[in-house]
Amino acid sequence: MDWVQLWEITTLPDNVPIVLLILVIPFYTWYGLRQAFANDRLIDSLEADPEMAKTHHRKTQPWKPGWAREVQVWPYLLRMEFLVAIIVTFILMVWSITLDAPLEEPANPSLTMNPAKAPWYFLGLQEMLVYFDPWMAGVVLPTLILVGLMVIPYMDTNPLGNGYYTYKQRKFAIWAFFFGFIVLWLSMVVIGTFIRGPGWIWFWPGQTWDHNKLIFEANRDLPDMLGITSMLGKSLFGGAVVGLFAVVTALGVHKLFTWNAFNRKIYNRMSLIQYLLLQFFLVTMMLLPAKMVARLLFRIKYVWVTPWFNI
């Protein structure tokens, strides 16, 4: 166990934001879910008691008749904003005094950095390069992530949970977002920071980053493993495998859409376009974990080999 190196990676000035991220994401996940569960308990009791539902103010925050529903922005909001600005400034000051921004040697095109890492917030994309060719990992998938995020409001036909924390009323949406944001995006950032060493080789935390380490990974293409040699055969076989993956995943997603009566109710509200769009983005999202498993566990490089592109 190389504690020194682990400490060095953790305290690298540019990695401090990731350490911060590892701390704040669980905190705010807990903080949000705590309020979600509190609201869920309120929803349960309101559903059990229709009379209470008519009179209750329907929030977990305290409320008494006669209280104003609104408060003046000045001073009640502005003093909060002012306070937060002071706290943030203070944190930045302390951070900037105690920790220096990194500065390496002058840029030198003939001396390659190893590992050459992107800024930490793009390490998810760089990690995707392991599993996909650059046109997929660097261009198509980032575009789809952005477009997919933008169309979320138009695909989500669930009218509940608008403006309050809830888990019970939005299980599917919350699980999908947690999976995409925390399991895929953030964990890939963490892998890219802490686990990928020289040569972008997988080093477990605490394993020494050996610059001379060579791994002769026998990464194979799926068609080659099965003895398919002709280009036509590879193209057709790969297309069939990817198509089969899409169909199976879509069926699985559909199963979740229609899991229980509530999910079916939301499903029935979807238009055909909304349904197909949501299926497309979820199936595309699942390509990444599928390819990760194929690569990390089975050492499969490409599944679909064609003269023009490989996936």
Partner: protein, 301 residues
């Protein structure tokens, strides 16, 4: 004249003169007292009224006018949901992000005074900042850490907006604007990474822009790129770098994107984002919970 003064006859010339002077003095004294009095009530002065228009007292009307008649504060509503001012609903992340943008603009402008975006000067300017410019190191550190922090707060803001379902009707469009702002934040940070012209920035940008080679159709190594007539000297990576390698043109382009173009674009999107927060009905909650039995049937065409 001298006789007049000695005698001080009522109605005499000298008396009239002295009375006149005394009157003048008393008048001046009263004016001075008025001015001193006005210092006790600065809100009554012409100066104050011309700047602030409303007095700062605790009348609800004046508190509301204080927000509405101030160009910096008028993005706020005059009143807000009593539960929304508590930290636990919004986490304050959108506001912190905007504040960090202001901090970055401020420190960024100061840094620009000491920086030349040329291959000869750029790295030396950073050394100069770190070792000779008063508070130069603090300035650079603060710019760097505020940039990193801003990315974290943008992500947390998006996380909160998702968890509270705030992207739902009628705020769908503003969510889209927000996603674009998140992209712009990351691009701002990325273009700034190259500017110190050190190994870290150089290789990070090399890795990043190499991906652009592989753009389908528009990159010379991407699917169908060569068929589309792309070479290393006319593809999208060439356009980003102003050349086929990360060199002086790339530095200049990164500088202009970082300091002028993206902040301007982000400013426009921010204006839309804040405007729409208000126009879409203000902050989304905490809203009263809705029950499953209250779902209305969707409208069909």
């Amino acid at each position: 004249m001298a006789d007049d003064l000695k005698e001080r006859k009522p109605g005499g010339k000298a008396t009239a003169l002295i009375d006149g002077v005394l009157k003048e003095v008393k008048g001046l004294k009263d004016k001075a007292l008025d001015d001193v009095q006005s210092l006790k009530k600065p809100q009554k002065t012409q100066l104050f009224k011309s700047i602030f228009r409303v007095t700062h007292d605790e009348k609800p009307r004046n508190r509301a006018l204080g927000i509405l008649s101030n160009v910096f504060l008028h993005l706020h509503p005059a009143k807000i949901n009593r539960d929304a001012v508590a930290y636990n609903y919004t986490w304050g992340m959108g506001g912190i992000t905007f504040y960090l943008f202001i901090v970055l603009t401020f420190t960024g402008v100061l840094l620009m005074f000491y920086y030349h975006p040329t291959k000869v000067q750029a790295f030396r300017d950073i050394l100069y900042l770190e070792h000779d410019v008063p508070f130069g190191k603090l300035l650079r550190n603060m710019h760097r850490w505020a940039a990193h922090l801003m990315i974290i707060t943008v992500w947390l803001h998006m996380f909160r907006v998702f968890l509270t379902g705030s992207y739902k009707k009628p705020r769908e469009f503003n969510w889209m604007v927000g996603v674009i702002l998140m992209l712009l934040t990351m691009l701002l940070s990325f273009t700034g990474y190259l500017l110190p012209d050190d190994q870290l920035g150089f290789w990070a940008v090399t890795v990043g822009t190499n991906m652009a080679r592989a753009t389908p159709l528009l990159g010379h190594e991407g699917p169908l790129g060569p068929e589309f007539g792309m070479t290393a000297f006319n593809d999208v990576r060439f356009a980003l770098l102003g050349g086929s390698i990360v060199d002086s043109n790339a530095l200049l382009r990164a500088y202009i994107w970082h300091c002028i173009a993206i902040p301007l674009i982000a400013g426009i999107f921010m204006a839309v984002h804040f405007w729409r927060v208000r126009k879409d009905g203000g902050i989304s909650g905490p809203a009263p919970v809705m029950l499953e039995s209250e779902i209305k049937e969707p409208r069909r065409f």
